[in-house]
């Protein structure tokens, strides 16, 4: 048992309102620079949709992530020692600026400085790369809210899991739905970016699991851009270095929540420590697709188990970190309650950003009817049967998970390597908590039905209450449990204080050694 600590993140998709505040917070702090304009370390996508960069999930285009070879061992799909070094002069699967979008601004100055004339002056869009006027054809959230459109929604790579009939049913006007998928770097346990870097510039910090690119060592071999299946390593065309989300480590070291999480309006984001067993990484990453989710959960250890605590201490994990792991909202959502899923576990990077799948569009089932009510309405008005959307009778509910507006197969392709069982279990848990709360606060559900719903999903009244609390009422310090800032260590992650230890104070660049 080799226990390590990892900062794990949970995004609760039921709560995301798609406002892009997170993206803007991150952009303002980290990527508002030349060469990084097009980089959105945090971006929010509409699903179904093609995302950013376009169709990033389709590894037949981008060749990211790991695949199993004939011997059952995992190999990088588009990089690695052989492929990476052979393709170092020209990387065939590297996305170019068109796959993201050409960054642009507007020539606002023209509004003020245009000479007098007959026409109203305009602010033309200009490219942030060349400075030339350009037609804007693409942006970082170009598919925002565009479910059902031919260019975006219908090109979603996850639709490959559906039959043509299921696909067209999904995009019927009455059933059309979408949800938001905010994405940052997953700070994976088996990061493809780290493995692909020929220079060894990318590394995972042992203390908190943050994956970073050493800017001084990066030599622009661009392999991480290809290897990361989530396309979360970006090439800065100006500095000639790759960059990625740093999980706001300077903020975390000081005890603050990362900027995107702190600013999240929907409060969908949770961050906490997870203790995991590093000895199991390779085996778990090579698991069969249907076992991937379950095996990844096996990796995470119980922070209350004495053996785990002893092993953690032997590995130098601080008491405050262990305490944070016991209090971790991520651990609760992911492991204790089993309500979250990793994005595309079949990429085998063991991502440490997990998602609570969205319930509402899934549960909604809509039918048109000729009720008595209809006669009273304008003929073009739509009426609905009684038992749609927020149906509270449990029989109906369990029945509708499978015939949801989004086919379960769609969500399973996103979050469970195709295992619909993993998705429906989590959706039922989400619903069970609602039934429990409705029974408690409204009281129009018989207790027997409530008990049955909890029992079927393995929840208790206490855990349902705790889930409700962490979902709906949680305060800042419940959502962000960041181990007490080890300030003395935090500083040393950037600068080695031992260099000046034992001298007359800080400031010497040289060891104060005795002269000759």
């Amino acid at each position: 048992m080799d226990i390590r600590a990892q900062t794990a993140v949970v995004f609760h998709l039921d709560k995301c309102i798609g406002c892009h505040t997170c993206s803007v917070a991150c952009k303002n702090i980290w990527t508002d620079r030349k060469g990084a304009e097009y980089q959105w370390w945090n971006n929010v996508e509409t699903k179904p949709g093609t995302g950013y960069p376009g169709k990033w999930e389709d590894q037949s285009i981008y060749n990211g992530g790991w695949v199993k070879d004939a011997n059952g061992r995992i190999q990088l799909k588009g990089a690695g020692k052989k492929k990476g070094l052979l393709n170092i002069f020209h990387n065939p699967s590297m996305p170019t600026v068109e796959d993201y979008y050409e960054p642009f601004t507007y020539n606002y100055l023209n509004l003020i400085e245009a000479p007098p004339g007959n026409d109203q002056p305009t602010a033309r869009p200009v490219s942030l790369i060349t400075g030339e006027p350009m037609d804007v054809k693409m942006g970082p959230n170009w598919d925002d809210d565009l479910s059902g459109t031919p260019d975006y929604a219908r090109n979603d790579p996850n639709l490959a899991a559906l039959t043509p009939a299921e696909r067209s049913a999904m995009f019927q006007l009455e059933r059309m739905a979408f949800f938001y998928l905010p994405r940052i770097c997953n700070h994976c346990l088996n990061p493809a970016c780290v493995a692909s870097c020929p220079s060894g510039a990318i590394y995972k910090r042992g203390e908190d699991g943050v994956v970073l690119i050493n800017q001084k060592v990066c030599r622009a071999w661009r392999m991480c851009v290809t290897a990361c299946p989530y396309k979360k390593s970006y090439y800065n065309w100006h500095t000639g270095k790759s960059e990625k989300c740093i999980l706001c480590y300077p903020r975390m070291e000081a005890g603050y929540a990362p900027a995107c999480m702190h600013s999240c309006v929907g409060r969908i984001r949770y961050i906490g420590v997870i203790l995991y067993d590093a000895d199991k990484i390779e085996a778990v990453a090579s698991a069969e697709p249907k076992d991937l989710v379950a095996r990844q959960l096996d990796l995470m250890m119980d922070p209350f188990d004495d053996k785990v605590i002893a092993a953690a201490k032997a590995n130098g994990i601080a008491d405050s970190t262990i305490k944070a792991a016991q209090n971790s909202p991520s651990f609760k959502f992911i492991k204790q309650w089993g309500m979250a899923l990793p994005l595309h576990p079949e990429f085998r990077t063991l991502p440490m950003l997990w998602y609570v799948p969205p319930l509402l569009p899934v549960m909604a089932s809509v039918t048109q009817t000729d009720g008595a009510q209809k006669d009273k309405l304008n003929p073009i008005a739509k009426t609905w049967t009684d038992n749609w959307l927020y149906d509270t009778s449990t029989e109906e509910l369990w029945g509708t998970v499978e015939q949801a507006r989004f086919p379960l197969k769609y969500l399973a392709s996103l979050f469970a390597a195709g295992e619909t069982g993993e998705v429906s279990l989590r959706l039922k848990k989400l619903m069970a908590v609602r039934i429990y709360r409705r029974w408690k606060t409204v009281g129009d559900i018989p207790e027997a039905k409530m008990t049955k719903a909890l029992k079927e999903t393995g929840l208790t009244q206490e855990s349902a209450e705790a889930i409700f609390y962490l979902t709906a009422l949680a305060k800042f310090n419940d959502r962000f449990v960041i181990p007490a800032a080890h300030r003395e260590q935090a500083m040393e992650m950037l600068e080695f204080t031992g260099d000046v230890k034992g001298s007359t104070g800080f400031g010497f660049r040289e060891k104060p050694e005795r002269g000759m």
Partner: protein
């Protein structure tokens, strides 16, 4: 004439080597961030393929070919003693020279015509690519016009280079060479001299260590086994990540 030969084949080489050594070290230490291959594939990928691949494979073979003839003149001559082997060697080298020329021309045209690439092009890039073009063109000319270069290089030029490194320069052979060869030699010294101040530096950081390292890299700031050990307060464990 004699004086200019001394300048071009003794003064220039020593100046170039000194600039190369000191410049590289100084640049790596002070401006290490700038040591990068500065790839522009992100801005343009297709035309790059037809330039960069033939260029790099070509120039690598040519570079190591020249290097081995310099380091191992004896074995080179021995290999060339058999005409079939000599001709095979010469034709192969010439083919890679052509590949370098084609690739370099494609790269140069791309650099001059693509608007986005122009934005990441410096004056030094233009100068360097021109110098390289001249160098390759003269190299090909010499290969055709003054045949069996691999042999006379090993016989006449390798001793000249060795004499430079032995600090006892002997330029009688070089001085008597026809002028296209002289241009090629001077071009080589110029390239070595400007090397630290161009994007060529990425050659020195070629990531060969990738072959032997394990795929995953995890770095601890502290030695995690010793951090709780009361016996180690004064031991300075330098973290690897800074």
């Amino acid at each position: 004439m004699e004086l200019s030969n001394v300048f071009l084949f003794v003064g220039l080489p020593y100046a170039a080597l000194v600039i190369f050594l000191i410049g590289t070290i100084q640049r790596y230490r002070n401006k290490g961030f700038k040591v990068s291959s500065l790839s522009s594939q992100f801005l343009e990928g297709r035309a790059l393929f037809w330039g960069t691949v033939p260029f790099h494979f070509g120039i690598l073979v040519l570079f190591f070919g020249h290097l081995s003839a310099f380091l191992l003149p004896g074995p080179t001559l021995m290999w060339n003693a058999n005409p079939t082997r000599l001709i095979t060697l010469e034709i192969t080298a010439f083919a890679f020279g052509l590949s370098t020329l084609v690739g370099l021309t494609a790269l140069f045209v791309r650099r001059l015509t693509n608007v986005r690439i122009k934005m990441v092009t410096t004056k030094m890039d233009i100068f360097l690519e021109l110098l390289l073009l001249v160098q390759v063109v003269f190299g090909l000319w010499v290969a055709v016009g003054y045949r069996w270069g691999s042999s006379w290089f090993a016989a006449d030029l390798a001793p000249y280079l060795w004499s430079l490194f032995k600090a006892n320069p002997d330029i009688t052979a070089v001085g008597a060479m026809p002028w296209p060869i002289k241009v090629h030699i001077v071009g080589a010294w110029l390239l070595i001299g400007i090397f630290p101040y161009t994007r060529l530096v990425h050659f020195l950081v070629a990531p060969l260590h990738y072959i032997t390292r394990p795929y995953q890299r995890v770095m601890w700031n502290w030695d995690r086994k010793a951090i709780r050990d009361p016996r180690t307060p004064w031991s300075a464990m330098r973290p690897k990540n800074n």
